[in-house]
């Protein structure tokens, strides 16, 4: 095994050797540099492998042949090996990336580069504090040199500010070191730790100086203006090295030196880390310049790792995994992002849409963004989950909350950036040239990020490899993305079919999960079938759709909290990409994502509290939460309600569902919303009646008002898909109200609504989606009379509408009947009336939809429309068959559900012999009602047919007005502002109060960030003053 000392010898030897060539032989010296970097990577890699397979033990390397206190020693343990390996890898990849740039500048720049990487290695390995100072100085001079790789006036200023700041810092470090030596008598870190300097006040100040300087090297929040300028102005290739390499070395040094200060320091470091993480992310929300934004984000992430280092005594043995997972994730993702920004070379994030030209680069960009926020299959997801779990179980909940707020703030600007990339329009002419040496590092980093995610499974309780099976299939779909759409469609349907067949045994026993499993899987397949009518390739649609369905499947089949959260985040990621495909859906997808991420974090906190009380990852732990139960249940409830868009959390739904693509809307609204409902049902089952009764009462009222406002808003909509979206809000308000009653009848009504809503909403969105595409407009007042052209879709919408309105013959009435009995038995009378009134309003807009699309006068530009494509009609008519079966034989569906619910709630519904559902209040025989109505219908039809005989169809007469066309023609269309009367009477209920509320909240946050941003005035001297203030304040807090 090559000794680690050769890293230094090799690097310095080559650096001096490069001096020989002066200005000539540029390419050759470039390759010499790469060889050197590769050698260093090999050495540290070889040590890492040795440690991983246990064949090596921690080694102390003595220089100059003497024992440590008298000479400098380097240590090569498993930690050092991993960190040096990471640094050398980033050095090698950075060298490859910057190859051309370094060649242009000359081979002295190459030697500076290789020396910089060597200095980071030694910083990690050395155990001597003065040696650490020397190599930190080498690092800072080399960085100052590297900043001016692209000679712009900005990079010059950044360089000077950097030198000023590091100069002041290193001076103070010197004082700290010399006095530490004076008190401890030795320069070796272990010697100083042994001397326990904290005992005396002066010793404490010396240690304070050392640690404060090391913290300042990591650019803590208020005093990091100089750091941000470096990120913004330097060449992004070098920015990657600073953000990944130097930060990793700096964090390890802090970890190494912290024991010097005793455990009080751990607390200070975690507080500083938290302030940095939240502060820089918050200020980042206002940022428009790409590199500076990456600077804010990397400082934030470093702050997070610093917090974790500070929390070491609390986290115990989980510390190593969490710190490494978060650091590795930041390391890989940030390097990748900087490299991509090096290729894109655009300053402002709004014109990054050129990234869409190269789909491979785009996918990698997305992977980095999602890795940073902490979405599944990435290490940060596992790290953050484990961090929150152990934090809450050691009951510092506030730290967990602040961390989540910080990463939510990061989500704000990262997703805005992603939105710009995916949706901003693209100038055609400029082409994106990607040289191979810039592309390969990014690919390597992405691959290792995914592999890191895979390998972090054994470290987290409750995680198992089974969750990665769907991801492998999604990867496979991603690879075959070049095929035409219909092949991919068949493949994905087959895949989903097999996967659901595979998972079925998992849910077989539990009827509730089987129903939801059926809705997710069967509904998913149906909505995918609709995709057959789409031509072309539909890049990126199928992997993402499968990801959503995989997430849904995992939620239903898993039995532990980790699996549930894994599936939840997977589903959110998948659905985000589905929604953002719509033409005008950028703002809506953005608000959807923010609400979902916030909701997911609330759920995580809730799970944390459950884990804290039950100490297990199983979902059963939700049953009896002893740690702050009411808080836990409220958090979980609100978290799930962000997904069911209840009142107050609903503003994302109309835009997200309204603007989505025609076959995405049914997926997202009919199938996805049920995930939130499933979550709520689980929660209420585990919570039980007595613990949550006030919460349930409130949720009942929330459900009632959501139903009312949702349906009312739907009836005043002019846009067809928006109307359906608002109606989904209303229907989910029903479901929430029903299950909040916690009685068998209530839950039966809830289940009926879940099944009904799935059936008719899928039909409505599919058909309306098809029509909107055919008719070319969303607005109801531009449509009409399509019954003549599309009779089949008219019939489908008619049946769906009757089910939605709850009219007797069809299954909708079953829901209403159960609902009525439940309300009276439960005693929630007033809410019952509100929800019933909402039901009538539902009838109104259902009719408006039917009327304005199909009936009335056929518009002349729709004359030659033909029926919507069979690929939509087939699933629609399967669903209609489902509705008829459910309406004709309600007992076959409701009885098993009733029995299943019987073991949770007292049973109040029996099924009499002749299929008559009997409660103490009333009875209802769906089958009989159906038969009677159909027979009456046939009789009366026969009677009418008898007395009218043959009729001749009247051609459409064009109602022309005597006066000339009014200025706004749509006002004459009947469905324009159709329920004006109702609107004038109770329109005030639907005023956009809540949307304004959320807009004000976001404006307040952004203004605050704007004010704090003023801190960075750009003047180098001011930054130096910030550093001194920071030291004085830190001193007063810690020691003064």
């Amino acid at each position: 095994m090559v000794g680690p000392i050769y890293i230094i010898a090799l690097a310095l030897g080559l650096a001096f050797f490069l001096g020989f060539f002066g200005k000539s032989l540029k390419t050759f010296s470039g390759f010499v540099m790469l060889a050197g970097l590769a050698g260093m990577t090999f050495i540290s890699g070889q040590w890492l492998m040795a440690f991983v397979d246990g064949s090596a033990t921690t080694q102390e390397i003595f220089t100059a042949g003497f024992k440590p206190p008298f000479s400098i020693n380097l240590r090569m343990g498993i930690e050092e090996a991993t960190f040096t390996f990471m640094i050398n890898v980033i050095g090698l990849l950075g060298g490859i990336y910057l190859f051309n740039r370094l060649k242009e500048v000359g081979n002295s720049a190459m030697s500076v580069f290789i020396v910089l990487i060597m200095s980071l290695n030694v910083i990690v390995m050395t155990r001597d504090i003065f040696n650490l100072f020397v190599f930190v100085e080498i690092g800072s001079i080399a960085t100052a040199g590297m900043i001016i790789l692209d000679k712009t006036s900005k990079s010059l200023q950044a360089g000077l500010k950097y030198l000023l700041a590091t100069g002041v810092i290193s001076g103070l470090l010197l004082i700290g070191i010399i006095f530490a030596y004076y008190f401890a008598g030795s320069l070796n870190i272990d010697g100083i730790i042994a001397a326990n300097l904290m005992a005396s006040k002066a010793g404490a100040v010396a240690v304070f100086l050392i640690i404060a300087v090391l913290v300042l090297e990591l650019k803590p929040f208020p005093a990091n203006g100089w750091g941000l300028d470096v990120y913004e102005s330097s060449n992004p290739g070098f920015g990657a090295i600073v953000s990944a390499g130097t930060a990793t070395a700096g964090l390890f040094v802090l970890y190494k030196v912290l024991p010097m200060g005793g455990d009080a320091w751990y607390q200070y470091i975690s507080i500083i880390g938290l302030i940095t993480f939240v502060g820089s992310n918050l200020v980042g929300t206002q940022q428009k310049i790409a590199n500076r934004l990456l600077g804010y984000s990397s400082i934030g992430q470093i702050g997070l790792v610093m917090t974790v280092i500070g929390l070491q005594p609390i986290l115990g043995d989980a510390f190593a995994f969490i710190a490494f997972a978060l650091l590795l994730n930041h390391f890989l993702a940030k390097a990748g992002l900087f490299w991509i920004s090096g290729i894109i070379k655009k300053e402002n994030i709004t014109d990054w849409s050129a990234l869409r030209k190269n789909s491979a680069l785009l996918i990698m960009f997305v992977i980095f963004i999602f890795a940073l926020i902490g979405f599944p299959p990435f290490p940060s997801f596992f790290g953050k989950y484990e961090l929150i779990m152990s934090l809450i179980s050691s009951d510092n909940i506030w730290v967990a909350v602040v961390i989540l707020i910080g990463s939510f703030a990061e989500g704000i600007y990262m997703f805005r950036w992603l939105g710009h990339v995916l949706k901003n329009e693209n100038s055609e002419e400029e082409v994106l040239d990607i040289p191979w040496n810039k592309f390969i590092p990014i690919v390597l980093v992405t691959v290792s990020l995914l592999a890191a995610g895979f390998y972090s499974v054994p470290f987290v309780a409750g995680a198992n490899y089974f969750y990665f099976v769907p991801l492998a299939f999604i990867l496979f779909l991603g690879l075959i993305d070049f095929l035409p759409a219909y092949i991919k469609n068949t493949v994905s349907i087959a895949g989903m079919g097999y996967y659901s067949w595979l998972l079925y045994p998992l849910v077989e026993g539990d009827l509730m999960r089987t129903i939801f499993f059926a809705i997710f899987m069967f509904g998913g397949i149906l909505t995918l079938v609709v995709g057959y009518n789409k031509s072309g390739k539909r890049e990126g649609f199928y992997p993402v759709a499968l990801m959503m369905y995989a997430g849904l499947a995992t939620i239903v089949t898993t039995d532990n909290m980790f699996g549930f959260f894994f599936g939840w985040e997977l589903m959110t990621a998948g659905s985000y990409f589905l929604i953002i495909r719509g033409k005008r859906s950028k703002p809506h997808a953005y608000s959807y994502m923010l609400f979902s991420v916030a909701g997911a974090y609330l759920i995580l906190l809730g799970f944390g509290l459950a884990h804290a009380s039950g100490q297990t990852q199983a979902l059963i732990a939700l049953k009896d939460i002893s740690v702050l139960p009411t808080l836990a249940y409220t958090l979980l409830a609100v978290g799930f309600m962000t997904k069911t868009a209840s009142l107050g959390l609903h503003i994302w739904l109309p835009g997200a569902h309204g603007e989505a693509e025609s076959d995405v809307s049914p997926m997202v609204s009919a199938v996805l919303l049920k995930a939130g409902v499933f979550g709520l049902m689980l929660l209420f089952l585990y919570m039980g009646e007595q613990t949550g009764d006030t919460l349930l009462f409130i949720l009942g009222w929330v459900g009632a008002f959501t139903a009312l406002v949702g349906n009312l808003a739907a009836s005043f909509q002019e846009d067809a898909k928006r109307m359906l979206a608002y109606s989904s809000i209303g229907q989910l308000g029903y479901i929430l109200f029903a299950i909040a009653m916690m009685t068998q009848l209530g839950w039966l009504a809830g289940f009926t609504y879940v099944i009904n809503h799935f059936l008719f909403k899928a039909i409505l969105f599919m058909v309306v989606g098809g029509i909107v595409v055919k008719a070319g407009t969303h607005n109801l007042y531009q449509m009409g009379g399509l019954i003549k052209k599309m009779p089949l879709s008219f019939l489908a919408v008619l049946i769906a509408m009757i089910t939605m309105a709850g009219l007797p013959p069809l299954s909708g009435f079953a829901g209403k009947w159960l609902f009525y009995n439940a309300v009276i038995l439960k005693g929630w009378y007033i809410q019952g009336v509100i929800v019933f009134f909402a039901g009538t309003i539902a009838f109104l807009y259902a009719f408006k939809l039917l009327h304005s699309i199909f009936l009335g006068q056929l518009k002349d530009n729709h004359r030659n429309l033909k029926e919507i494509s069979p690929s939509i009609l087939i699933p629609v008519y399967i669903l209609i068959a489902g509705i008829f079966y459910f309406s004709a034989f309600p007992q076959d569906v409701l009885e098993p559900i009733g029995n299943m619910l019987a073991n949770y709630f007292p049973s109040t519904l029996e099924w009499a012999a002749d299929g008559n559902a009997v409660t103490i209040l009333s009875n209802w025989n769906g089958n009989a009602v159906m038969i009677i109505i159909i027979s009456m219908f046939v009789l009366v039809l026969g009677y009418l047919w008898l007395i009218t005989g043959k009729t001749q169809k009247l051609e459409q007469f064009n109602i022309v007005y005597s006066a000339e066309r009014p200025f706004r023609p749509e006002t004459t269309h009947v469905s324009h502002n159709m329920f004006a009367g109702l609107n004038k009477a109770i329109g005030f209920l639907v005023a956009p109060g809540i949307t304004n509320f959320w807009n004000n909240v976001s404006k307040m946050v952004l203004d605050f960030a704007g004010v704090v941003r003023r801190l960075y005035s750009g003047n180098g001297q001011v930054y130096a003053i910030h550093i001194i203030i920071y030291i004085v304040v830190f001193y007063l807090i810690s020691i003064g």
């Binding site: 009378y829 009838f843 009335g856 109505i933």
Partner: protein, 304 residues
């Protein structure tokens, strides 16, 4: 749960009686109205004559499938309401098919007919019909609120939704009619009935007399005859519904005829006195007073 022909025949007979009584009642009402206005009014057999005339008219014109099926929905709505409600309390043959559903089914069945009319009329494409529909639906929604409040109040009071139990509770003397045992609910119910009957103050929707506005504008001949038969049946059945709920139901045909006449007379009488409301005013009116009374009724019934 027997589908025996015999049950069907009794129901058909009941339907025939109701149809004739409906036509007679509307003719009587028109005469009384005319008398109040100083006119003689139509002869009592007028409705039969109109019906026969309409049925005999041959017509070839139809605006399409939904236009054709609209009146069928309408009539099925009317007949359905009749079938699902017991006519005479106590007598099994006259209880029709009320065992397969109850008050909730009836409440929802009202909108079944409304839906049919709306679809048929809008298929005809005439703007007058469309305006009438939007007004009708809005008003129907507003009427539903006090109606539901009344129904819920009664349901709380009697702890049941099934007709027979409600009627049973009201037997034996005037005093235990719902009118007196639960006055607030009855007032709310009666006010809602005014809207349901769509007589004068709230008849903007059909407004048959002055201008031919409203859903049936395009209907003629045999279609109109079907609509007429239905409106006749509907008047009686609506009145019967409110009779069963508030006035103790009928234990014999004789009682049935008298009570439905008086209930129907109340709405006509109110219609004579008050002028027609604008659509927003009617909605606002319904959502103000009747709903307030209804809510108080529910509170009183529930917590007192």
């Amino acid at each position: 749960m027997d589908y025996s022909i015999e049950k069907f025949l009794w129901a058909f007979l009941g339907l025939f009686i109701i149809l004739n009584w409906g036509m007679l009642m509307s003719a009587l009402m028109r005469r009384i109205g005319a008398k109040l206005a100083g006119r003689i009014g139509v002869p009592l057999y007028q409705p039969w004559v109109d019906l026969l005339k309409l049925m005999s008219l041959k017509t070839w014109l139809s605006h399409g499938v939904m236009y054709y099926i609209g009146p069928v929905f309408r009539l099925v709505g009317g007949v359905g309401m009749f079938l699902f409600m017991p006519v005479i309390f106590g007598i099994e043959i006259w209880s029709n098919y009320s065992f397969s559903g109850d008050l909730i089914l009836l409440l929802y069945f009202q909108s079944f007919g409304m839906l049919g009319m709306a679809m048929g009329a809008s298929e005809s494409g005439s703007p007058h019909a469309a305006i009438g529909i939007s007004r009708g639906l809005s008003q129907f929604a507003a009427v539903e609120v006090p109606m539901t409040l009344a129904v819920i109040a009664i349901a709380i009071q009697h702890q049941t939704f099934s007709f027979s139990e409600i009627m049973a509770a009201q037997q034996g003397g005037i005093m235990n009619w719902t009118l007196f045992t639960n006055p607030l609910a009855s007032i709310a119910g009666m006010l809602a009935m005014l809207g349901a009957m769509s007589h004068s103050p709230f008849n903007l929707v059909k407004a048959p007399n002055e201008i031919p506005i409203g859903p049936p504008t395009e209907y003629h001949s045999s279609f109109l005859s079907v609509l007429r038969t239905n409106s006749a049946i509907l008047h009686v059945v609506e009145a019967a519904l409110f009779m069963n709920l508030f006035f103790g139901g009928a234990d014999s045909w004789y009682m049935y005829i008298i009570k439905t006449f008086f209930v129907y007379f109340i709405s006509v009488f109110v219609g004579m006195v008050f002028p027609r409301f604008k659509i927003e005013d009617s909605i606002r009116w319904f959502l103000k007073w009747p709903t307030a009374i209804g809510i108080i009724a529910v509170i009183v019934a529930a917590y007192w």
